[in-house]
Symmetry: C2
Subunit: 359 residues, 2 copies
Amino acid sequence: MARIHNFNAGPAAMPLEVIEKARAELPDLGGIGMSVMEISHRSKEFQSIVDAAEAGIRRLMKVPEDHVILFLQGGASLQFAMLPMNLRRAGRSADYVDTGNWATRALKEARITGAVNVAWSGKEDHYARIPKPGELALLPDAEYVHICSNETIGGIRWTRFPETKAPLVVDMSSDILSRDIDIAPLGAVYAGAQKNLGPSGLAVVILRRDLAERVPETVPLFLRYSTHIADGSLYNTPNTWAIYMLKLTCEWLEARGGVAAMERENERKAAVLYGVLDSSAFWRSPVEVESRSIMNVVWRLGSEELEARFIAEAKAAGMVGLKGHRSVGGIRASIYNAVPTASVEALAEFMREFERKNG
Amino acid sequence: MARIHNFNAGPAAMPLEVIEKARAELPDLGGIGMSVMEISHRSKEFQSIVDAAEAGIRRLMKVPEDHVILFLQGGASLQFAMLPMNLRRAGRSADYVDTGNWATRALKEARITGAVNVAWSGKEDHYARIPKPGELALLPDAEYVHICSNETIGGIRWTRFPETKAPLVVDMSSDILSRDIDIAPLGAVYAGAQKNLGPSGLAVVILRRDLAERVPETVPLFLRYSTHIADGSLYNTPNTWAIYMLKLTCEWLEARGGVAAMERENERKAAVLYGVLDSSAFWRSPVEVESRSIMNVVWRLGSEELEARFIAEAKAAGMVGLKGHRSVGGIRASIYNAVPTASVEALAEFMREFERKNG
């Protein structure tokens, strides 16, 4: 079977070893005569899976004991709604930093249920950069400060997180487990699974335990973090398949040396592509150099026709997912943890060849 | 590989053919060089999967065109919260019929955000039966009437749904696709997937289109049915794996003759077990005969010690998931669509043998 070079933005490439392991455990998980999808979420077999997934995340991200780890459904999009419902008390406001499409979606949802302060917006700059520390107009009494650590569409990332008085809440959907982040000073981290964690339909939420106590009594039980904390993510039937795949992904990551090793590999992979972009005026990166994402590398060519030809010829050469998001156009290569260095090198070689023919 | 006899209440047995098909399409879905978990939810490949799943549900359940079909996350538990948030306007109330654990969870969640009328409760009768038509104390101006069509813990079901002036909303998590139901007169049907539809982490919602227009502007975007209707269940990244498995399950059902054929088989399977229960005083069914579920068959033995021995010996004989819910004890066999008749016959044979040895 020929694996394709998969540069999809999400759902995205998963480690082949993880898929092969899951395949080998269908339809029989470790000799129990059933697949992982057919056992109770309250069975000892599944409890050991959810425990292993949680322990894997805790070790890989060095999550301190005063932060809980939750496995919820609804992806990051439900978190956009749950965060303000749980963490912003009546009459209070929260700071949102608008760095692009995902930050905008988070703040749009937060506005429905209460007050929001937009502490900075990159909209007029076409979201080409992350703000400098002095640029944030933070409230003196915000309930929390929300940022999106990596914007998949703009291709920018917070290389360093801002220092804030209020708890910092970070949407890390597109770069969780891709780089070493100190969780201890953060109020919350959340991520949809479908880029670096596993299949879609799962959100990992890491939350400082005391922040769950703020929730008003008017919030539905299912939408309270406290409900899911009390039942160890088993208040209702969770996405058991996705938690199982996350457990396998954590094992794969640990076998490869953990997050620090992965970060070095990701930096190398990104450097290969940025190296090509910086090598000639044939390529144009629309992103400020200091804000460059190492997960989503975006670029433009001289014309939209040339970009369309690039994407079509790349596809014919076995490289998919390179079309930029429909809202901005251009080209984008998403190179999450599971995208092999060999795929990135194949793309770089294709780029150099494409420039020779069209430059 | 020996498949076990799987009587789990949920997540539950899935058709072996469905799992084998999914296995065969890992890690390569139809020659595209990626698995179904690694493609964009906005790709043409995935669109054809979600379209096929929707068409399958529409054909199998004969869903009329004025009802939409949605694939959401959060299972039935999120629907317990979303339904009243969307369908019950400010100052209005809704009728809830309390037939057991699941009906109770739905009404408990509805109470958090507004008024609820408990139109009938079986609590004092230990949830041993479904109410008769004349027993429901319905409001003259309820926004909707909520019932749970089949209670997995009590082992009772609505053989016929009540006639109501307000739209009837039915939690069919444990018997959707198991019997022929006329959707046309219903306001909404919803179901967590992990019993008759596929793996956990997915809810199917069938909603009369006009009911989605009631939603107040204070409800978060993600929690509005109108949001998901507008984007064909692709407002955010859905649980793509579960939708794919649901598509395969629909194909499996249609190949076996659809819901009518499945209903006949389910009636036969249930009759095999109730036949044993009715054959001697060794067994005791705590459920009113007219309210008997054909999905979850519950029974008691003379003592808890004898019940524990039954469960242990059944497990040793390759039959799992027979322990009654921890809130009620006893024995329960869940015999959803995917539980083969052969498994039910093996259980009946084991029961007769157990009675011979212990009766």
